[in-house]
Amino acid sequence: MSSVVLITIISLTLLGLVAALILYFVAQKFKVYEDPRIDEVEEALPAANCGGCGFAGCRNFAEALVRSETFEGLNCPVGGSETMVKVAEILGREAPEIEPRVAVVRCNGTPDNRKRTSFYDGVMNCTIAHNLYGGETDCPYGCLGLGECVEACDFDAMYMDKKTGLPVIIDDNCVACGACVKACPRDIIELRKKARKDRKIYVSCVNKDKGGPAKKACDVACIGCGKCEQVCNFDAITIENNLAFIDSDKCKFCRKCEPVCPTGAILELNFPPRKTEQKKEPEKAEA
């Protein structure tokens, strides 16, 4: 090897060593002390950084978990019970009881059910259309079908059904992070407690108008008649502002409310067919 190459190799190696030493000392001197548990907890989290926990990313959530004494208000909807149990182990606390939830779109205003009365021309953004007017139908509470919720979903759990103009939720992918709930300017999407076999029973309407105008705008609107409330034995149904609401935490899935609804606003999904006479289900695209 020529002397030039030798000198080059030696000098560069020395330079590298000196730099490494400097870096090491500086790193040690200016090190910020962090609770090592934060790293461990962060490892256990799903690393989706979706914000579903309400914090800015998984690291931030890990810091909050380590700092807090209890699990009050701290839940990772993506990882669910599995993750929280792991975190509880690391932190030496009791694992919290969490019930999984799933997003549900409370509107069934398809073009067949809800007549279109105007044509919207403009940016395909729900908030912008919502600020402009009630929408292409006579129901000013219903889904506008422009897909802001679908765009907000980070987990590929939503798509827009082209025929019905309504968003559809893929239960298997939904982690109940709440992004779609926040995105919808009309609060049509709700996080409901997940039941076995993806069963759901809910009022697919958020129309707060009185029965007359509500029904005129949409065939399957909730008119607030109260028949469902009367028939529920578990106090799960309340009527407020001409609108019925089934509390998913109290509902026992007895299915007594669905057949008494005069407009078909209550939807029951993924149940076995009833043993009584043929019941015509209202039109709805299945997920």
Partner: protein
């Protein structure tokens, strides 16, 4: 009412301008210059121009459709403008392969890598031109002598441009003698203005470019700020140099009419996407380009500096946009 009314947000009217109309307006304003180059260089001018334009359009279509996977919109005219402007920076005897390569770099690297129309920080035609200039310095600096339709396309008689002659001979021979020496063949003012001299397609005919400028100003495609500030700055600085030392500096008028300055000031620097948005910013941008051009021309190694000057100032455009905001209506009220 059995018909649905359309509901949309205001305004419910729209002006007559469109991106397409603006781009084609630039194409129309380049027509006099194109005619001038055909007059002086003959077929080769047409060949270079059409190869450049067609390859720019083809590359934009292919890249948009297959790599970016978007709806191609080559008909908006911006690729045609890039193709024309690139052609106007090239010597007419440039081999076709090199022209196509230049188009690929101009459109592919200068425009598409940043996301297409509206997103590029650097003028695509200049990116292509500078790439070719640095990669093929010989081919890019041999200029055919104009001879109408008899101009040779491939090789044979080539001549130098006025700026390259000046650049070689600065501080060796007094400028007066350079100008009058018949052997060097420097064009006089008349030739510069009407175009009977060596150079790239777009450099030669000053009058044709000025007609184009007037057309664009009337049609409100560009405003006067950028061209005037560039030319004004060049005139002022070359004027200062010339007054200080007339022996080794050409006069300002000569500087204004030679090289790619007019082409650059009127067409390249005024490219919407890469120039600042506010009037004040445009003037700062123009002054910068003028200054750098003069520095490179007089003190730098290259005879012509406009291409680099514009690219350098393109890099400053986002900074200029951030700090030189248009003046607001009404002053700020504290605790408003």
């Amino acid at each position: 009412m059995n018909k649905l009314l359309t509901v949309s947000l205001s305004p419910h009217e729209h002006g007559k301008e469109s991106t397409k109309k603006l781009m084609y307006g630039v194409v129309i304003s380049l027509a006099p210059a194109l005619l001038a180059t055909v007059w002086f260089f003959g077929w080769s001018a047409l060949i270079v121009t059409s190869v450049s334009v067609v390859s720019c359009m083809v590359f934009e279509y292919l890249i948009t459709k297959f790599i970016l996977k978007r709806e191609p919109s080559v008909d908006d005219g911006s690729a045609i403008v890039t193709g024309l402007l690139l052609a106007f920076c090239l010597p007419t005897n440039l081999p076709i392969g090199i022209i196509i390569l230049g188009s690929l770099v101009a459109i592919g690297v200068g425009k598409m890598t940043f996301g297409g129309l509206g997103n590029n920080p650097f003028n695509p035609a200049l990116v292509g031109r500078v790439f070719l200039f640095l990669s093929f310095p010989v081919q890019m600096t041999t200029w055919p002598v104009p001879n109408g339709f008899k101009t040779s396309f491939t090789d044979a008689i080539t001549g130098a441009t006025p700026l390259s002659i000046l650049n070689e001979n600065y501080d060796k021979i007094p400028v007066d003698s350079i100008m009058t020496d018949p052997e060097l063949g420097m064009p006089g003012y008349q030739q510069l203005f009407w175009g009977d001299m060596g150079g790239s397609l777009g450099e030669i005919a000053a009058f044709a470019l000025i007609i184009g400028l007037i057309y664009m100003l009337i049609r409100k495609i560009i405003t006067w700020h950028i061209p005037v500030s560039i030319l004004g700055t060049v005139a002022v600085f070359t004027g200062i140099l010339w007054l200080a030392n007339p022996g080794s500096n050409a006069d300002p008028l000569y500087h204004l009419m030679t090289g790619g300055l007019l082409l650059g000031a009127i067409y390249m620097a005024t490219d919407y996407v890469t120039s600042p948005m506010s009037r004040k910013g445009m003037i700062v941008y123009g002054v910068g380009i003028g200054l750098i051009t003069v520095l490179i021309r007089r003190f730098g190694a290259y005879p012509e500096g406009v291409q680099f000057a514009i690219l350098i100032m393109n890099a400053f455009t986002p900074l200029i946009n951030t700090y030189m905001k248009p003046s607001r209506f009404g002053e700020e009220v504290k605790n408003g």
